[in-house]
Amino acid sequence: MHTLSIAEMAEGLRAKKFSSVELTDAFLARIAKFDKQLNAYVTVTADQARAEAKKADQRRTKGEDGPLLGIPIAQKDIFCTRGVKTSCGSKMLDNFIAPYDATTVAKFNQAGAVMLGKTNMDEFAMGSSNETSFYGPVRNPWNTKTVPGGSSGGSAAVVAARLAPAATGTDTGGSIRQPAALVGITGLKPTYGRVSRYGMIAFASSLDQGGPMAPSAEDAAILLRAMAGFDPLDSTSMDKAVPDYAAQLSASIKGLKIGLPKEYFGEGLDGAVAKVIGEAIEQLKKLGATVHEISLPNTGLAVPTYYVIAPAECSSNLSRFDGVRFGYRCKDPKDLHDLYKRSRGEGFGAEVKRRIMIGTYALSAGYYDAYYLKAQQLRRLIKNDFDEAFKKVDVIAGPTSPSVAFNLGEKTADPVTMYLSDIYTIAVNLAGVPALSMPAGFANKLPVGLQLIGNFFDEGRLLNVAHQYQLATDWHRRIPAEFA
């Protein structure tokens, strides 16, 4: 059952080949059997899942139907779920039972999806390897000595190992796409404002965006349809109709203009990865696309710019974790100041503290102009690069990550080295455009992801291109042997 696509599962439910309870139990059994090896779930909500599955079956008996009715999914532990621990991968929120549902969670509930549990992640979504989690690292199902990427590493791993048919992720600088690439699944970061951020614990508010992670573009399209849309509770969410993404999948890509940014194929890109990406682009050409070299001249500035903007926003966003109203409070604070600094000092891990400090510094008196304001200006230049590119091409293609999954511990010693692993994904968040990563083959027995970047609100086209590619290839169907 676990190898079926979401559409096939829905078909099975409709045809009464199996019930949602059976489907849910099958996945819960896989979780029980395999998650010890991966550490991908922080919380498994087995009882709640069975209850929700039962409810979904009843809804179906009453004549209801829907693409997600009775389909199990996993939620990244950054989305608030009423009555269920929402840890954000942090000791700070280890005791936080969210008193409300994120908009995304509410939408899935309404659609009748069944939540299997909450997935592990880098602490407060800060990390590219899932090694900053308070709950320990997640392991890559393709090779458990390697990382699954981050920050949505748990979601990526559960989908790759089929411990959930699909999952949600969030992407601030690559946190959906990079792990999707490293574990060989399809992950989409929508246009900024496409998916509500309400109830999604903020890392960097002007960059954060939730999105789907699933084996295929077809599955991702079904999830995105459910997640996307205007939310009156998020004033940055866009009041724009949500297209039927699934209906757009079957269009031919003949004549599609694909831009290859020369900056994404230069120094720093692993040779074996480059080869796989080259083959994938050949495949797209076979499907009728044309390829054009383009330039995104400010690519090199994306990482420095991001590491001012994201920490600046996070330093402020994370001030609410102060040990007063929720979350971790230190033992026996001797005064108010002690309460603040020890609750925060003990509750946050090293990477979070580093970023808070960088951001605090960048915003502080005397440094604001040189850091924060400068970064905001560069952000515009980076966005202008994309505007220019999309005057010439329909989508931009390139590698998602410069290398395949690296070993646990390999990059933890030097934060800057870790930061550079997001070099191809970060500019997209700064610009606000949508992008997806899809499995394109293997290098050194580890998955390689092809990134497709689209113009604003062009998610439908990205999913269409990915789907056409996936009709011609089977990379997205591969499951690591250990988890078959």
């Binding site: 969210a98 600046a312 402020s316 609410r320 102060d322 007063v324 109203r325 929720f326 603040y340 502080s364």
Partner: protein
Amino acid sequence: MEWEAVIGLEIHAQLATRSKIFSGASTDFGAEPNTQACAVDLGLPGVLPVLNKEAVRMAAKFGLAVGATVAKRSVFARKNYFYPDLPKGYQISQYELPIVAKGKIEIELESGEHKTVGITRAHLEEDAGKSLHEDFHGMTGIDLNRAGTPLLEIVSEPDLRSAAEAVTYLKKIHSLVRYLEICDGNMQEGSFRCDANVSVRRKGADKFGTRAEIKNVNSFRFVEKAINFEIERQIELIESGGQVVQETRLYDADKDETRSMRSKEEAMDYRYFPDPDLLPLIIDDAFVEGVRKTLPELPDAKRERFVKDYGLSNYDASVLTTSRELAQYYEAVVKAAKGEAKLSANWVMGELLGALNKENKDITQSPIGAQQLGGMICRITDNTISGKIAKQVFEAMWAGEGDADAVIEAKGLRQVTDTGAIAKIIDDVIAKNPEQVEQYRSGKDKLFGFFVGQVMKESKGKANPGQVNDLLKQKLDNK
């Protein structure tokens, strides 16, 4: 050496919206602690702010009323600092680009001179919660009901030169925001608060001295006292060779003094930056014009109209336009009194405000309605009662004994206007006081008053004073 004070005020006016500035929680005052603090007000993980349109409308209304620019584009920023009554660790406020800029307002000084006070800016922001310092086993309790209440912070230019001027300006703004119905002005409940920036300099100097910011002044009287204390403190400090340090000081009403509030090592670095959860606030002309249509007649215009239409003195017109409610009351009295504007002004400002003051009430709490008071004034003008008797009627109405007519009837206060009846009393008085009559007639004119008094006494005050005068004169002079 002569000193001059330089004062600027930062006024925080809570906007009278139903819901909070960024959430749908109620702004009602006085609820049980934390029952009106929703997820957004508490800064729970994942929540987001959505701006209240009415708060924007109210801010724009104020801007138009003080002749300011209402910015087409303004920006919300985060002011970062840690404090237990500030749930998110930052306050959402407007910093570089406020919604209202460059306004002015005219105040009238004690000398009668007029002075224009510049309003640098007015910006929207969210209020913080409250710390309750009663003893909870040596801990402080935090109530976040107030957190997220919309505030309009109105910042004046340092144009004020004395505590009295500062209070006049403060009262003027207080009256204005209530006229505009954007703030209830309740200082006890903290809906209208004020910080004062005070510095001193030698008279004639063009540079400002170092200023201190005085916080926690919550009545007009305390504002005046706190500023005066601070001026004296700074002068004494400088004259004894010291220097004023820029700092925040707290006014202690019990001790009538200001004292330093934050320790010096705690230099504030608020790390302002544009709030990434909120796009810029864009206001178009149509919005501003819509707001302009809702502007009521403003205090200055009303005062001028009162002078012109009712023939009042400038002073009377100022008093009667202090608040919108008082002006409304007065106009209703005039109408009920069939246009007797001057007499109405005298009664409202004299008896009525006097009685209200004595009982610490404002005009909205007056036990005598405008119709009632106007009705009584009609009885004066139609000679049913004299002005003196009217005071008895007023007191009876105040005590809830009904309308003027009912009181006059019940107490038999109707004025005696029957010439025959008055003549009879006069004859009696003349007969009873032959000695005084003799003296008067031999030239002691002053005794006329004595006879008036006697006649009024005999009539229990009900005789018409004009008629008494005329008849008495006739009878005394015609020997």
